[in-house]
């Protein structure tokens, strides 16, 4: 712990040892060729293992048939070879941390391989961009690109439009027809973009490079949340991480408040067994705050303000997470910018007060109703998700277990580091503070997911302490344990992250069907869907009108459905049934394939609809009577 003379004593010893080692390395005699080979052999072994993992994974892709996946997602189609490749990847990563001299490239390559093989897996096995919300975001982007308008009364997200205007700029400057073309590789790109800030953050929390890379790897291995698609939250997570990286690297106070020292001393007196004899073994040297000139500090502060401003104007939740994180650091007096949370709060207040009036006018009561009601938020975030098909319920339960398991791993890591004389105050505060967001509201049942994401970097850091509580070399038993834990995590990630893939994947056939209807439909026609899973709305957002008719469709109430469509007074009304909609109805609401097919047949045979399109993955009905221009 900083300021603890016992710890400093240990740190001094470590620094001395490190310096001695460095001196030895510097003055090492020229080695004979055989010795050089012996030194390079472990490096070659690690690279061979990583290449083998990549090759096996690539070879296994041929066996994945996305059309055959079940309600438990991609893992149902994952061949054994793929699972073996994840185990080999975990082994390669773990061995890369034992290399002498230490390698940066090998753990970096292993981390990039993890991103590509698991987070980028859908892009390799699916034939069209995935995830319905990404299509909606592409539609928002397309609206701004084509019309330059903010439809603040149509969707709340237009009141925080900067991400979409940014997307519009990018697509037009880069000559990309529609933002949905960015989606296939969005997960890989976003995860790679997060890598830099993560390494800087972890490098500000420890000087042990092995722990830095372990925390990074664990972050990606435990990030099943899936908020890495084409979305404002993915972009904002980059901003969140970058701001934290700047604050922790340049604006951190390496001083532990007196009251925490007193608590630790009290603990030492009352429960000496907590740290016991290990406290003097030498914790990793606490990392330095990097010195900066006043000009550099001013520029860095300017970057923080720029990124905060962009975040405030592009996402509803991230600025609150930033306020929580900065407040935690300020309350613990761990930052030289104690006014930063106030500044962010002022920016958020100004934005909400002046720029989101249209949204607030209709939603203020609903927004305030959850305030300070964590019970309601928890119910919305957990209880209401435990429904659907048996396979889906298994996936939700699996995610809960994985989440709790990872938090337990983090707790164990924090305790182990503490027993070795190191109190990771910043990581503990930043891991815990996002849970305060539960007091805000349920966030459409997604708040716990977001809290998990915001706290994940620091949970991963704490969990890494389980393997690297001290600067000593990883023993072989510890190496085996680490390889096993990371391998299990990678397989668990495949299950948890891609557990909804049957509904989240959109086939090229579905997308083509949407395009064909877009091409034939007159302006201001109604595009009706059973649920929002699918590709509808990804372009020409204002050209057509949209309706969701789940209730009438699933109750097979033809009269009510036709009345609902007629009420829109549109020239034509199209009703979409797609593979992904059906999968979502079965997975999330527990409908059987028979019920879905029967409801379609009832509509088609009612004489009130005419089939205008039928493909393997899509069927489109047109409400009749309809003018000839509708066909």
């Amino acid at each position: 712990m900083l300021g603890d003379p016992r710890c400093l004593e240990g740190s001094r010893a470590v620094a001395q040892t490190a310096a001695e080692q460095e001196l030895k390395t510097a003055h090492a005699p020229v080695l004979p060729t055989s010795s050089v080979v012996m030194r390079l052999l472990p490096h070659a072994q690690v690279w061979f293992i990583l290449l083998l993992a990549a090759a096996l994974w690539y070879a296994s892709l041929d066996e994945v048939d996305i059309r055959l996946i079940t309600d438990i997602g991609l893992v149902s189609q994952a061949p054994p070879l793929m699972l073996i490749s994840f185990g080999i990847l975990a082994l390669g990563f773990t061995l890369s941390l034992r290399l002498q001299p230490a390698s940066t490239l090998a753990p970096l390559a292993a981390t990039l391989l993890l991103i590509a093989t698991i987070h980028g897996l859908p892009a390799m096995v699916e034939d069209a961009p995935r995830f319905p919300t990404a299509y909606l975001h592409a539609g928002f982007t397309d609206t701004i690109a084509q019309e330059g308008e903010l439809l603040t009364r149509v969707d709340a997200r237009f009141s925080w439009p900067i991400f979409f205007s940014f997307g519009a700029l990018v697509t037009q400057v880069a000559d990309i027809a529609n933002a949905i073309e960015l989606q296939p590789w969005a997960a890989v790109v976003n995860n790679v973009l997060w890598l830099g800030p993560l390494v800087v953050i972890f490098g500000s929390l420890t000087t042990d490079r092995r722990q830095v890379w372990t925390a990074t790897f664990l972050f990606y291995a435990a990030n099943w949340i899936g908020q890495d698609y084409y979305a404002p939250q993915a972009f904002n997570f980059l901003l969140y991480l970058t701001i934290l990286a700047i604050v922790l690297r340049w604006f951190r106070r390496p001083v532990v408040p007196g009251w925490i020292n007193r608590v630790v001393d009290w603990l030492d007196r009352r429960h000496p067994e907590l740290r016991g004899p290990m406290r003097a073994t030498g914790a990793p040297v606490p990392p330095a705050v990097v010195a900066a000139t006043p000009g550099q500090r001013a520029a860095l502060l300017g970057i923080i303000v720029l990124l905060t401003g962009v975040s405030v104007a592009s996402h509803q939740l991230t600025p609150f997470a930033l306020i929580a994180a900065m407040t935690a650091l300020a309350l613990l007096r761990r930052t030289t910018l104690p006014g930063l949370p106030v500044l962010i709060a002022v920016l958020v207040g100004l934005w909400i007060s002046y720029m989101t009036v249209a949204f607030l006018a209709g939603h203020l009561v609903g927004l305030l109703s959850d305030l300070g009601a964590p019970g309601e938020a928890a119910t919305a975030n957990v209880g209401r998700r435990l429904t659907g098909s048996p396979g889906h319920v298994f996936i939700v339960q699996f995610r809960l277990v994985m989440t709790l398991g990872f938090w337990l791993l983090a707790a164990a890591g924090a305790v182990r580091r503490f027993r070795h004389g190191h109190l990771d105050l910043d990581a503990l505060a930043l891991a815990g503070m996002p849970f305060g967001l539960l007091l805000l509201q349920a966030y459409g049942g997604e708040m716990l997911l977001r809290i998990y994401l915001f706290s994940l970097p620091f949970m991963a850091f704490l969990a890494s302490g389980l393997f690297f509580p001290s600067p000593r070399r990883l023993s072989w038993p510890a190496t085996r344990a680490m390889a096993l834990v990371t391998a299990l995590l990678l397989i668990a990630l495949l299950v948890a992250k891609h557990g909804n893939e049957r509904a989240d994947s959109i086939s090229a056939d579905e997308l083509a069907a949407v395009d064909r209807v877009y091409a034939m439909a007159p302006s201001q026609s109604v595009m009706a869907v059973v649920n929002t899973w699918g590709a509808v709305r990804y372009k020409d957002f204002t050209e057509f009108r949209y309706a969701q008719v789940a209730e009438h469709f699933l109750s097979e109430d033809v009269e009510a459905l036709t009345a609902e469509l007629a009420r829109r007074e549109a020239p034509c009304a199209y009703l979409f049934f797609t593979r992904s909609q059906q999968a979502a109805a079965e997975i999330f609401w527990g409908y059987t394939p028979d019920a879905w097919q029967r409801a379609q047949d009832v509509l088609a045979d009612s004489g009130r609809f005419e089939e205008v399109l039928s493909t393997p993955d899509a069927r489109v009905l047109l409400a009749t009577p309809a003018p000839a221009a509708c066909r």
């Binding site: 900083l2 300021g3 400093l8 004593e9 740190s11 001094r12 470590v14 620094a15 001395q16 310096a19 460095e22 001196l23 701004i144 330059g148 903010l150 439009p161 900067i162 991400f163 205007s165 940014f166 519009a168 700029l169 990018v170 400057v173 880069a174 000559d175 973009l193 830099g196 800030p197 800087v200 000087t207 972009f235 980059l238 901003l239 970058t242 990286a245 690297r249 106070r253 390496p254 040297v285 606490p286 990392p287 330095a288 705050v289 990097v290 010195a291 900066a292 000139t293 006043p294 000009g295 550099q296 001013a298 520029a299 860095l300 970057i303 720029l306 990124l307 962009v310 104007a313 592009s314």
Partner: protein, 197 residues
């Protein structure tokens, strides 16, 4: 690009001109997409972070991407709210800001246009490199002596003493590492002795 020293400004200018030519020449090819995307992700940030004098390449890369994307997003948003959502204008503003930042950096130091952001360069030689400074501060933070700090930074003790006398930035680094002021530090006899000797 990140560590090309004096070649960086002309290379960045050339890259900026190529990006402008592809975009405003309305070239429709994969090359335009690649050049434009890469420039939007790195170009503006490279120009602005160079003014800050941060030499640690990975850390600078983090700032480069954040500043580039932040500026792109901010400018696109301002234009939409201003009622002029023109990508040509947005790109023009970004190109102009980038070129201005590069020119600002190329201007003679006596014009003092760098706003003192490169004051760290008053630490000359090896110690101007941020990783060395970081290692030095780490050694001090771990309770090491000035000799430990010099060894960690890979310079001689004589050099470090000389730089400490001449460099406010370095003294500031030592202050931060000690968690107190230089006065506190000077009350520590061994350090005071080594600094003032």
């Amino acid at each position: 690009m990140m560590s090309m020293g004096r070649f960086e400004p002309p290379l960045l200018l050339a890259w900026t001109m190529v990006a402008a030519a592809f975009v405003f020449g309305d070239v429709q090819s994969l090359a335009r997409t690649m050049v434009a995307l890469s420039w939007l992700a790195f170009g503006p940030g490279l120009a602005f972070t160079r003014l800050m004098g941060i030499t640690d390449v990975p850390v600078r890369l983090v700032l480069v991407i954040a500043v580039s994307l932040g500026l792109d997003a901010a400018i696109s948003g301002v234009l939409v709210y201003a009622g002029i959502p023109s990508w040509e204008l947005g790109m023009s503003v970004l190109l102009s800001l980038t070129v201005a930042a590069v020119i600002l950096h190329l201007a003679p130091p006596r014009l003092n246009v760098r706003l003192g952001w490169e004051a760290a360069t008053d630490v000359r030689g090896k110690l101007a490199e941020e990783p060395r400074q970081a290692r030095m501060v780490e050694a001090l933070l771990a309770g090491g002596t000035l000799a430990d700090a010099a060894e960690a930074a890979g310079v001689s003790l004589v050099t470090l003493r000389r730089r400490l006398r001449s460099s406010q930035a370095l003294r500031r680094a030592v202050e931060v590492a000690s968690g107190g002021s230089l006065e506190d530090l000077e009350n520590d006899p061994p350090l005071r002795e080594s600094i003032t000797r």
